[in-house]
Every structure is written in structure tokens, then in C-alpha cells.
């Protein structure tokens, strides 16, 4: 499983800079990120190399941050690659809350991060269907 950092951010100028500057100051490297937002606020979701330390420093700097578990999987980097993987979840009736992709690629495959309702079951579905699920320790250091 992969630890993702979720941070509550108001939609106002400079907040993203503040978060990234804080992480930079503590030598924490961002590996992937995505933002979900409404008109007033957003949730910044990050994969970093040191998630526990990141939550600690963000909280101490006054941010509302928490850890969320997400799944990282490798998906063949070709047309229909993601679709095939998602079909497995659909067949199993598992809902995806959100997903985003990792910038770097470990090998030939693309790397997808996803949050689902039932993580354990989704991982099981992937294992059965030979979809490669990455552990956090590996991902943080990519």
C-alpha cells in the first residue's frame, strides 16, 4: 500500500507555494501530486519520499494534513492499457474514488495511483488478474 498525503487548502493565492516550500525546506521530495477542488477549497494529494515526516512537518506548520492509503499499480503504457485494468475493478463492483498518474515510469509501464472504497479487495482483484501492485517503499524512492 502507498501512503498519500492529503492537505486541505483554501483556494487563495500562494497556498500551494507555501506547502511546496515547507516540504522543500525539510528536504522532502514530491513524487506525484494532484488537486481536487471546489470553488472555495481543494484537497492537495501528494506522494512524497518521506510521508510520515511530511505529515508531521505540515501539521507543525499549521496545515490540515492527513495520510490516506492509495494503491499504486503498473499499467501497460499502450492504448487500452488502463481500460483493461479498470475493467477488473468494474467486474468486481469496486468503485474508484479518484486516480492519477505518476510522472516517472519504473520500466515500460505507466504508474497509476488510485483510491478505491475497498482497498484490500481491489488489491486482491489485481493480484488475481496479474496486475502489478507496487509497495510504498519502492514508490517513494523511485
Amino acid at each position: 500500500m502507498v501512503k498519500q498525503i492529503s492537505i486541505f487548502l483554501e483556494n487563495k493565492c500562494g497556498r500551494l507555494v507555501d506547502v511546496t516550500r515547507t516540504l522543500g525546506r525539510y528536504n522532502i521530495n514530491i513524487r506525484a501530486l494532484t488537486i481536487a477542488d471546489t470553488s472555495d477549497f481543494g484537497i492537495l494529494r501528494l506522494i512524497v519520499d518521506q510521508p510520515d515526516k511530511a505529515v508531521e512537518v505540515l501539521k507543525s506548520e499549521g496545515f490540515m494534513a492527513s495520510e490516506t492509503e492509495v494503491i499504486a499499480i503498473e499499467v501497460p503504457d499502450q492504448p487500452g492499457g488502463l481500460a483493461r485494468v479498470l475493467e477488473y475493478l468494474e467486474e468486481a463492483g469496486i468503485n474508484i474514488e479518484y486516480l492519477y498518474s505518476f510522472v516517472e515510469k519504473p520500466e515500460e509501464d505507466a504508474l497509476i495511483l488510485m483510491r478505491v472504497e475497498n482497498i484490500a479487495r481491489a488489491v486482491e482483484v489485481f493480484r488475481v488478474n496479474n496486475v502489478k501492485v507496487l509497495e510504498g517503499e519502492r514508490l517513494y524512492l523511485l
Binding site: F8, E10, G62, F63, M64, S66
Partner: protein
């Protein structure tokens, strides 16, 4: 002047009448209401100890809290068979205050509102458009009965439907408008938007109350509507509108002292303050039957002037209310206490909330925003979860207070704290 006999009564005679009526009221509640009897006893006092008007200061104070404790009818000093009407105001944390009237109380109230309207220039030839809300709120029906008593033509339109208000005002030849000052401004804006020249209207004056407003706002209303604007004052617990109103001098609101005894106290110590000193207004009703009030703390800050007024009325004048002794806000005519918001947030957020209420006026409409710092308990990784939290707060505020507020979730520690304590209310309105 509607009732010169009483409104310009010699002060000595007036004070004799006040004392007589005070004694009657005290006897009435002492005999009929154990709650008063007990409260008096706790202070070691009984009606017989009140030997002069000044002795009123020996009596204990009563507040909205006493009414709530006795919700709904516990402080009625008349049997329900004699109560012909009830009104109610919105209440803190769900418990409203209920006020009752006997037929004679309604008669008294109509008399007081007749004085108020005549003070503002009304006569039997007037067409009075009553744009105060009708219903449990005392504004609409209070003004209605006063206007009918004068024999004026009443347009009982109630609040809202502003374009229709303006059309009716024009077509029906309205000469006097009765509503909240902020709604009067909104009507003025609508008239401009409809490209109607106020000079074409027959509107001559307006009586505006139920919320505080400044001299500056008076000038704006007067110039935009081209009318004379008068401040009127009252509160449902005491009777409703009609407690006091401005005369043509526009220099303080004459309190109907043949029906109420007014005192100004230091809100911190409860000491009675001398004439002309600003403090909290305390009112005692001396003619009411169903719900008499003794030394009722209004929470409104003002000062009293007992000097004779050029208009000929001898009744004391209270200055335009300049503020509150508590943290009550009046938003679109609705009383709002920060503690009400706090209770709602506590229930929904499951934690001690850090919040701030920001009140502003956009155009002529009061806007309330509630900012809530996201706590550990509230925060989740789900946008939908946070949005439904916002919606839950919004709905509950609307349920409890009857007004809508914009809810904003903000980051921790963004609400300014002074000496560790957050400032709960920022009121940006210039009234």
C-alpha cells in the same frame, strides 16, 4: 399627536400615573405568577416595598432567559381564555420566546402604533404600505392594527416581492412605508432599477425599525426615496413595535411612558445610571395583562433625555440605539447570537469549533458568512465529505435561525486570535 392627553401629560402627573400602574402590575404578577413571587423573595422584596417610582430599582431584572425557562406560556398573567393572540421570535438554540396578548393588550398595542405612525406623519388620509413581515413576527400585524386605528388605508403587502411592492406603491398612491430600514433601501434601489422617478410617487414618509440604523443611512434613504424617514423602536417581549418612535424633530424616540417605565443601567453592574448617560435600556410594562415584563433587559445601548421636546410631547426620548450590551447581531431583521452558530457547529463538527461570523452588506442586503476552521475530526480526503459538511452547516443554520448563511471551510489557524481568543464576529456593515 395621536393622543395629546397622554403624550403631552404634565410630567408630575405622568409619574403619578406610572407609579399607580406599576403597583397594579406588581400586584397582578405577584398574585398570579409563582415564578415572579419566588424571584422577588430571593431578593427579599415584595410589592409593598415599592413606595415610590424610584423604588423600581429594588426589583430584580428579567431577561429573555426567563421567558425561555417558562416556554411557552409560563409567564402569562392572564388565563388562556383571555389570550387572543400570540407572537413569537426566533430563539437561541431552538427555544423561541412566545409573547401573548389579551384583547385589551391588542387595544393598547394598536394605540401605541397609532402614536408611532402619527409621529411619522400619518393621518386618516394616508395610504400605509406595510412591508414588515406578517405572521409570528410582531412587525406586520403591529403596524397593521395601528394604521387601522388611525383610519388610514392599509396596504397589508408584508415583506418581499419587491418589484410588486414598487408597482403597488405607484399605482395605489402609497404615502407612507413601514418596513425595516435595510428593506427601505432595497426598495429604493429597485425603484431606480425600474427607472421610476421617486418624485412621481406619492410617498412622503416612512417608519423604519426592527434593526439598528445610523443617521447616515437615514440621509441615504431620505434622499433616494425623497421622503422623511423616522426611526421606530420596540421588541416583541415588551409588546412589539410601538415602544418608542421619533417625532418630526428626529431627535430621539419618545418612549410611551404612560405604558412603560424606562431605565438606563450599567450592563456590567446593573446600577441605574443618571439621565443622559449611555447604558442598557431596561423596560417595565405597566399596562400589559397577558405578558407583563418587569425590568426587562433589552440589551440595547442608548441614553435617555427627559428635557421637554419642541414637539410638545413630554415623554422621555431615547437616543437612536447605538449598539448591544451582548453580542447579538441583527441580520435581515433576525436576531442572531454567535452562541447559536457555535452550538450548531459543535453538533455537526463533533468538536470545539474555531469559527468566525462575517457580516457585510451587499447593496442593501445583509450577508452572513460563517467561516469554520477545518479540524482533524472534520477533515477527510473526500471532497464530497467536506462539501456535505458545508451543506449540513448551511441547512442547520437555516433551520434554527431562519436565515441563510454562506458557509466557508478555512484552513486551521487562519481565523485571527487575539490573546488566544478568536474574534467571533466581524461586522463590516456601515449602518
Amino acid at each position: 399627536m395621536w393622543n395629546p392627553k397622554y403624550e403631552s401629560m404634565d410630567r408630575e402627573e405622568l409619574e403619578r400615573l406610572q407609579f399607580l400602574r406599576l403597583k397594579e402590575t406588581l400586584e397582578r404578577i405577584y398574585q398570579r405568577l409563582p415564578y415572579y413571587k419566588e424571584t422577588f423573595h430571593k431578593k427579599g422584596i415584595e410589592p409593598g416595598d415599592i413606595k415610590s417610582l424610584e423604588d423600581i430599582s429594588l426589583l430584580p431584572f428579567f431577561t429573555k432567559e426567563d421567558l425561555r425557562k417558562n416556554y411557552p406560556y409560563g409567564l402569562f398573567a392572564a388565563p388562556m381564555s383571555e389570550v387572543v393572540r400570540v407572537h413569537s421570535s426566533s430563539g437561541t438554540t431552538g427555544i423561541p420566546t412566545v409573547v401573548g396578548y389579551t384583547a385589551r393588550d391588542i387595544e393598547t398595542w394598536s394605540e401605541l402604533m397609532a402614536r408611532t405612525l402619527v409621529n411619522g406623519g400619518a393621518s386618516r388620509d394616508s395610504v400605509i404600505q406595510i412591508a414588515y413581515g406578517y405572521g409570528l413576527f410582531t412587525g406586520g400585524l403591529g403596524a397593521h392594527y395601528g394604521a387601522e386605528k388611525i383610519g388610514a388605508t392599509v396596504v397589508p403587502i408584508s415583506g418581499g416581492q419587491t418589484i410588486r411592492q414598487v408597482r403597488i406603491m405607484k399605482d395605489f398612491g402609497t404615502t407612507m412605508l413601514a418596513c425595516t430600514p435595510s428593506y427601505a433601501l432595497y426598495i429604493a434601489e429597485t425603484i431606480e432599477e425600474m427607472e421610476i422617478n421617486p418624485a412621481e410617487l406619492k410617498l412622503k414618509s416612512g417608519v423604519f425599525g426592527a434593526e439598528p440604523w445610523s443617521e447616515g443611512m437615514r440621509q441615504v434613504i431620505e434622499s433616494r426615496l425623497q421622503i422623511d424617514a423616522f426611526d421606530i423602536y420596540g421588541l416583541s417581549e415588551v409588546i412589539g413595535p410601538g415602544v418608542s418612535s421619533e417625532c418630526a424633530q428626529k431627535n430621539g424616540l419618545h418612549i410611551c411612558e404612560d405604558h412603560f417605565i424606562a431605565e438606563i443601567i450599567d450592563p456590567a453592574t446593573g446600577d441605574v445610571l443618571s439621565n443622559g448617560t449611555a447604558g442598557e435600556l431596561v423596560l417595565t410594562s405597566i399596562t400589559k395583562e397577558a405578558l407583563p415584563v418587569i425590568r426587562y433587559r433589552t440589551g440595547d445601548i442608548t441614553r435617555l433625555d427627559r428635557e421637554p421636546c419642541p414637539c410638545g410631547r413630554t415623554h422621555a426620548r431615547m437616543e437612536k440605539v447605538s449598539g448591544r450590551s451582548d453580542d447579538m447581531l441583527i441580520i435581515r431583521g433576525v436576531n442572531v447570537f454567535p452562541s447559536q452558530i457555535e452550538t450548531i457547529l459543535l453538533e455537526i463538527g463533533n468538536t470545539e469549533p474555531h469559527y468566525q461570523i462575517v457580516v457585510d452588506r451587499q447593496g442593501s442586503l445583509d450577508i452572513m458568512e460563517v467561516w469554520v476552521e477545518v479540524s482533524e475530526q472534520m477533515f477527510s480526503d473526500h471532497i464530497r465529505g467536506l462539501e456535505s459538511l458545508e451543506n449540513a452547516i448551511y441547512s442547520e443554520i437555516e433551520n434554527v435561525l431562519g436565515i441563510s448563511a454562506r458557509v466557508r471551510l478555512v484552513e486551521p489557524k487562519t481565523i485571527t486570535r487575539s490573546e488566544g481568543k478568536a474574534r467571533r464576529v466581524i461586522d463590516k456593515r456601515t449602518i
